[in-house]
């Protein structure tokens, strides 16, 4: 099946005229090959490599270079990045901003990461924040939030959310939620749930109010993941179980209902999987070990078939019109 054969099919059904078919055919032959995303990826990786390499390099040669020189260089880079971004940015708008200057996003990202490096360096060398670590974390967080909204940058937003979480002593990056957080400490669970719910709410509000709607995904993904995992760990290991159960189930129900908007089915999946885990855990702990062993096979077989049935028909269950599809 080639372009030509599709065009022939379309002309046979009289959807397009032969002239239009010829136009499309010429277009297909003469269209340029865009290497836009290849170049962007190289640029992006280049920034990652450069900042990692430069970080290690500076660390290795700290004795020979001299602190002032390094700080000055990093500060210059940071300042230039922010200046460039500001110079080339478009005015603020509550919607997604399509900037024709393709470099700005990457420059801002570079600026944000060098700013973090700069701050860390100052703290490490001159101890400017003393032991007020909270202050050291909240400053970049605020700056990144401002940048994210002013320059419409999702990367800066995710860095800001990360900073906010680490202000509370949490790690929020999706792959490290479980590995890097010490949830054996009950004190962390409540802040984690609170922050996660807050972020989810922030995402919800930005979507409902049409204020930076495209940020909602980031907020909800990071916040929802954190809150659900924290609620589950709370349920598994701490009291009062009933509280954690209702928080967890409530969050899952919220995510499943959100699939109504069909913004992202990721949340449907999150809600279903976390909800399934929580329900299964509660059922089995209440049944006791003997009954659980006997019923296990039947429970898992039929419940997973049930979940599959739900996922195959979730549009019908949630009353979503069939046209909405992502």
């Amino acid at each position: 099946m080639t372009t030509r054969s599709i065009l022939n099919d379309l002309t046979d059904k009289e959807i397009i005229s032969p002239q239009q078919a010829d136009t499309i055919d010429t277009f297909e032959h003469e269209k340029t090959f865009s290497i836009h995303w290849e170049l962007r990826s190289i640029l992006y990786l280049g920034i990652l490599f450069f900042s990692s390499g430069a970080g290690i390099l500076i660390y290795e040669n700290i004795d020979t270079i001299g602190h002032q020189a390094i700080i000055a260089v990093i500060a210059c880079i940071t300042a230039y990045c922010y200046y460039y971004t500001y110079k080339n940015s478009l005015p603020f708008s509550p919607d997604q901003v399509e900037n024709p200057n393709k470099l700005v996003d990457y420059v801002l990202l570079l600026g944000c990461s060098t700013f973090l490096g700069l701050e860390g360096y100052l703290q490490f060398q001159y101890n400017i924040f003393g032991s007020r670590y909270g202050l050291a974390v909240i400053i970049p967080t605020i700056i990144f939030f401002v940048c994210a909204y002013r320059f419409d940058h999702r990367g800066a937003l995710s860095m800001a959310i990360t900073g906010l979480a680490s202000w509370l002593g949490l790690t929020i990056a999706p792959l490290s939620v479980l590995s890097d957080n010490d949830f054996s400490d009950a004190k962390l669970i409540i802040p984690a749930i609170a922050l996660g719910s807050l972020l989810t709410a922030a995402g919800w509000i930005s979507e409902e109010q049409h204020f930076k709607k495209h940020f909602a995904f980031m907020y909800m993904l990071m916040g929802g993941n954190l809150a659900c995992i924290a609620a589950q760990i709370g349920l598994f290991s701490f009291e009062p179980k009933i509280l954690y159960f209702f928080i967890g189930i409530g969050l899952c129900w919220f995510f499943i209902l959100r699939a109504r908007q069909a913004q992202s089915l990721l949340f449907l999946l999150m809600g279903t999987v976390y909800g399934y885990c929580i329900l299964t855990y509660v059922i089995f702990t209440n049944l006791g070990a003997d009954a659980a062993l006997g019923l296990g096979i039947f429970y898992f077989l039929f419940s997973s078939v049930g979940v599959i049935y739900f996922l195959l028909n979730f549009k019908k269950f949630l009353g979503i019109k069939p046209e909405i599809r992502k």
């Binding site: 959807i15 995303w37 990786l45 990367g155 860095m159 990056a173 997973s304 599959i308 996922l311």
Partner: protein, 380 residues
Amino acid sequence: MKKAYNQTWIDNLHIQQQAAEWKSKNLLTPAQEEQVKEHFPEKFYRPGLFVKIGLFCFAVVACSFFIGFLSLFWVDTHSDTGFSVLSLIACGCFIFVLEFLIRDRKLFHSGVDNALLYAAVAAAMVPMFMLFNHAPLWAYCLAALAIIIPATLRYADLLGPIAIFGLVFTLLTDLMMKFALGKALLPFAIMVLSVCIYILVRKSRDIYYRECRQILEVLSLVTFYLGGNYLVVREANAIISGLNVSIAPQIAFAPLFYFFTLAIPVAYIVSGLKKPDRMLLIVGLLAFAFSIHTYFHYFSILTVSQGLTLAGALMIAGAVALIKYLHTPKHGISDEQDRKNNLADLQALIAAEKLGVTPHQPGLEFGGGTFGGGGAGEVY
């Protein structure tokens, strides 16, 4: 082999996608696109990616507990024969459900059917391992191929070509390793086989197997490069010969492999741009990065950090220069943003993972991926 999914719908799906692309370029009016959808309908159930993942996971759970469920009624699960019969029965059930769901629920690579297919293939292979304990490796490969090739031809599953490719190369390596001459010629054999597979799959024009074909193309491009890569050949040669030394010895035909290491990526990139073929280009870029890694592995003049910094700087400079250069399209290559950035969220997440360090752990917290694995990884 009769195809499991409705061929007409797959054709229509392709036509619809093409029409949507033309519409986004303003070559078709929205009304015309609607007409296309009307005249070329498809009724597949194709959920979003994340629903697919969920369906797949729960289907895997269901399949494994189904076997447990069956074994409740089966007395003789401890002997090899008993278990083999059990898994054959399970395999039959899986295929039955799979066919039923495809026909009735109109699934089309929707997670459940993938999981059922894998479960059925795995169940079909169990007796082979149970009943023939000490067969040689090539016999297992052949038997597995005998199951997987028909399954792939029927269902065009994406894991199928990967498995077939792996098995064919295992088979080749296993047979070559039996002779001294075979060991020496192994890299060339791998390259020749890759070329054969590439030419063969390029011949297929069937839209039903389009994605399988693309996977096989990429894989054969990669193995062709790796078969000629100096680093891979030299290290693998040391392992095959059973040498336990820190530095692998020099290999025969070294200049030839130097040449391959440099020429293959360049050839990939150039022909990828000329054809134009995006996969060729991306594989070429990745291969090029690996070639640089190969060079620095043996002629190391820089430390890791210096290498990273330099590579990063060069990548930034090169990419910026090309972006500026391609501001107006040249030689049929442009820097137009013609596809939507589906990866904006992903990029932001990577930023959170890699850059979102807390300031009270300076310096060493950096240092993400290694130098070699670079290139244009996230494009697809």
